[in-house]
């Protein structure tokens, strides 16, 4: 991995956006802060997905499973012991009688996500194409049903409450920046490049001596760890969670963020998450009516219709996503600004 100026800029762009979003939390009302925090944590989730999906080219519907187990393990283990007896009486004694602090619980969330991904990845990473998509979807279903029904590991179908709300702007920003840095370092590492090679042509990569199964398994496990950490950040922002919150809706929303931003670049994952999350929050508030100098009130249900239309439009007009599959660069930013103000430059960006 060569840390030249251009490479560092590729990392600086996504981090700068997340830090700006984090700092903006300090200037807005609590209502808007919640939406900013959601957007920042969405970046962490989408980046964790991109580590596997973006680099391997294998579509996975199961990545939110790791967010879910991270969220529930971190949540269950940070609820005060004295409260668990009343709220979660059926828990395994190990979970019921112990409480962790904030940072250890986030580390545990990442570890649980990684272990689950490793175990599941051993058989699953031999699959690709449609079979991989269906198998990872099955993983999502199994995880969801276990979390929803098994009251020895969580609240079952009811809400897990009383989780300390430790994810403010600082924790959300630091945690998400950590996820971005790990994803970036992996992408530019030897294993990351080998996986990218297998994405472009799996047969050629294998012929060149790359063990595709091993590289996919490593990325899947790393993605699981980062997803678990993102789940920990998420649950400590909301303060409560249900199994339904980390299931189909979140799966499709985060995959849409990835595709809209551009699945094959880190910059795409970040801007896709921020833009779609921001648009979703704005439309959600608009359904309740907001003051934009005039009363702006959208009919109920508009959010999903408009989000769907925007996503379809982006995919039709720019199939490789808003980023075009490129990483952040000053040239690219200049070109984008130039486009916005009607100027054109001839320089290309970096891939």
């Amino acid at each position: 991995m060569t840390l030249d100026r251009r490479t560092l800029l590729e990392l600086a762009g996504p981090i700068a956006l997340v830090v700006i979003a984090g700092l903006l939390c300090l200037t807005v009302s609590r209502t808007i802060e919640i939406y900013f925090l959601l957007a920042i944590i969405s970046v962490a989730i989408v980046t964790s997905i991109s580590v596997f999906v973006g680099n391997s080219g294998v579509l996975s519907f199961g990545q939110i499973s790791f967010v879910a187990v991270g969220a529930f393990s971190s949540g269950v283990l940070t609820i005060p012991v004295e409260s668990k007896a009343g709220v979660l009486p059926a828990l395994f004694p190990l979970l019921r009688d112990h409480t962790l602090g904030n940072v250890p619980s986030l580390a545990l969330a990442a570890a649980v996500g990684a272990v689950l991904a490793l175990v599941l990845g051993l058989p699953l990473m031999r699959l690709s194409g449609l079979a991989a998509g269906i198998a990872t979807f099955a993983v999502l279903m199994i995880t969801h049903n276990l979390l929803r029904e098994w009251e020895k590991i969580g609240p079952g179908a009811t809400t897990l409450a009383l989780i300390p709300e430790t994810t403010g702007w600082l924790q959300a920003t630091v945690g998400t920046v950590l996820v971005i840095v790990v994803a970036f370092v992996y992408r530019h590492s030897r294993p990351g490049r080998m996986l990218c090679a297998s994405r472009e042509d799996a047969a050629a990569a294998a012929a060149a001596g790359i063990n595709v199964h091993r590289q996919r398994l490593f990325a899947f496990t790393l993605s699981g760890a980062l997803g678990g950490l993102a789940g920990g950040l998420y649950v400590h922002m909301l303060g409560s969670i249900t199994a339904d919150q980390v299931f189909l809706d979140l799966t499709f929303l985060t995959l849409a963020m990835l595709v809209v931003g551009g699945a094959s670049s880190l910059w795409g994952a970040v801007i896709g998450a921020l833009l779609v999350s921001g648009l979703s929050s704005f439309l959600s508030e608009s359904e309740s009516g907001i003051d934009l100098g005039f009363r702006f009130h959208l009919p109920e249900g508009s959010r999903l219709v408009i989000l769907g239309a925007v996503m379809a439009a982006v995919l039709i007009l720019r199939p490789s996503g808003i980023s075009g599959g490129r990483e952040f660069s000053l040239d690219g930013a200049g070109r984008l600004v130039g486009r916005l103000v009607g100027l054109h430059t001839s320089k290309g960006g970096s891939r």
Binding site: R30, I34, Y35, V87, A157, L162
Partner: protein
């Protein structure tokens, strides 16, 4: 003459004092409003319960403000739609209402859905009220020490399940088969309480089934429970599973009585072809035949669809009593301390008693309604004599 002048002066002073007092009173009556921030579900799963409760609260507030308000301060409601209780939106709603200066927060009628709002509100130190959460978990049991600020004017689920069992047994239904929707704590606890009390009375639970909203398995439960020979089928559910369960059983040619809780009140879910032999134990009649005329008048005013509407007005009655007893304070901790001492405080839905451990209502006189075709009628009432310890 001097005496007369002194008398006139005294009279003038008295008049001035009187005018000043009245003016002060008027100023107080037009004082700063007590703002209730109400996070509710306008069109989602909980809308059949939240909407009527909010409408009834608005009617009650209009009446109270017409009589001078609370200690001279008018009540006002500002609302936020939680959009089918989306957790992030609900949390944002609570923050928004608090940002608009809400003194007290009201939330949706289920403790699981209400959790994001409740936590945001109690973290801000505000009294947090649910008009009709039906479990004993709206309080310290679910929300720990800060749960001291959380109360519900809904029933304790154990009390409701026990009342259902006593009604069933008194009707001569000595065997029951139960089907639990495992989605919500309320659903589960009511069924558990029914089973415990029914068995205590000498009844026999011959079959236990379960299903869950969103799991697409209610028809499996229907098929299995259809095979059970029982005098009554008991389920506690609402949402799409309610018509699916009831019409599913009837479509198999099985006309065994079905008994539901308040969750299954109202006719909004009944298909045009109607249902038969269906009962629910609820707060009040929404259809003009409640034993309490005041309830009927309120039901008419709000065009109620389910009996839970009455809890919206009852919650306002309770909050008004608490503010008066706290000397006009709207401080969350002070109001909560007063409410924990509520002992048979009168409201439109009956007498309300709370305790430090129990922040929901028990001992309510329930109405039993029956739906035949598409018409709901009150067919009895029941009070739970014994409440089993379940949940």
């Amino acid at each position: 003459m001097i005496k007369s002048k002194r008398g006139a002066l005294s009279a003038l002073l008295a008049a001035l004092v009187t005018v000043a007092a009245v003016a002060a009173g008027s100023a107080s009556a037009a004082g700063k409003p007590i703002v209730i921030g109400w996070a509710f579900d306008s069109k989602g799963n909980m809308s059949p319960f939240d909407g009527p409760a909010l409408a009834a609260a608005n009617v009650r507030i209009k009446e109270i403000n017409g009589k001078g308000g609370v200690n001279g301060r008018p009540l006002s409601i500002t609302t936020c739609d939680t959009q089918n209780n989306d957790p992030a939106k609900a949390k944002s709603c609570a923050a928004s209402l608090l940002g608009k200066g809400a003194d007290i927060i009201f939330t949706t009628c289920d403790v699981d859905y209400a959790t994001p709002v409740v936590q945001e509100s109690i973290n801000a130190g505000k009294l947090t009220i649910a008009p009709c959460i039906g479990t004993d978990q709206m309080g310290p049991k679910r929300f720990g020490a800060k749960g001291k600020l959380a109360f519900s004017f809904g029933n304790v689920a154990q009390d409701e399940g026990s009342a259902m069992a006593e009604y069933a047994y008194a009707r001569g239904w000595k065997t029951a088969a139960t089907a639990t929707n495992t989605l919500l704590a309320y659903f589960k606890i009511v069924v558990q309480a029914f089973e415990a009390r029914f068995t205590q009375l000498g009844g026999k639970v011959v079959d236990r089934e379960s299903y869950a909203t969103g799991a697409n398995n209610v028809q499996n439960a229907v098929s299995r429970i259809n095979a059970a020979k029982a005098a009554v089928y008991v389920t506690v559910t609402s949402f799409g599973e309610l018509p699916a369960f009831v019409t599913g059983i009837r479509s198999l040619g099985n006309n065994t009585p079905i008994l539901n809780s308040w969750a299954g009140d109202g006719t909004y879910w009944v298909p045009k072809s109607g249902v038969s032999n269906y009962y629910a134990v609820t707060y009040a009649s929404a259809f003009g035949d409640d034993p309490n005329p005041a309830v009927n008048a309120l039901a008419k005013a709000v065009k109620a669809g389910t009996g839970g509407f009455v809890t919206g007005a009852a919650a306002i009655d309770g909050v008004v009593s608490a503010i008066k007893r706290a000397g006009g304070s709207t401080d969350g901790a002070k109001l909560a301390a007063v409410m924990e001492k509520f002992n048979k405080v009168p409201t439109i839905s009956g007498l309300v008693t709370f305790s430090p451990a129990l922040h929901s209502v028990s001992g309510r006189q329930y109405r039993v309604i029956r739906i035949e075709g598409t018409t709901e009628k009150v067919v009895g009432s029941v009070v739970a004599k014994t409440v089993p310890k379940v949940g």
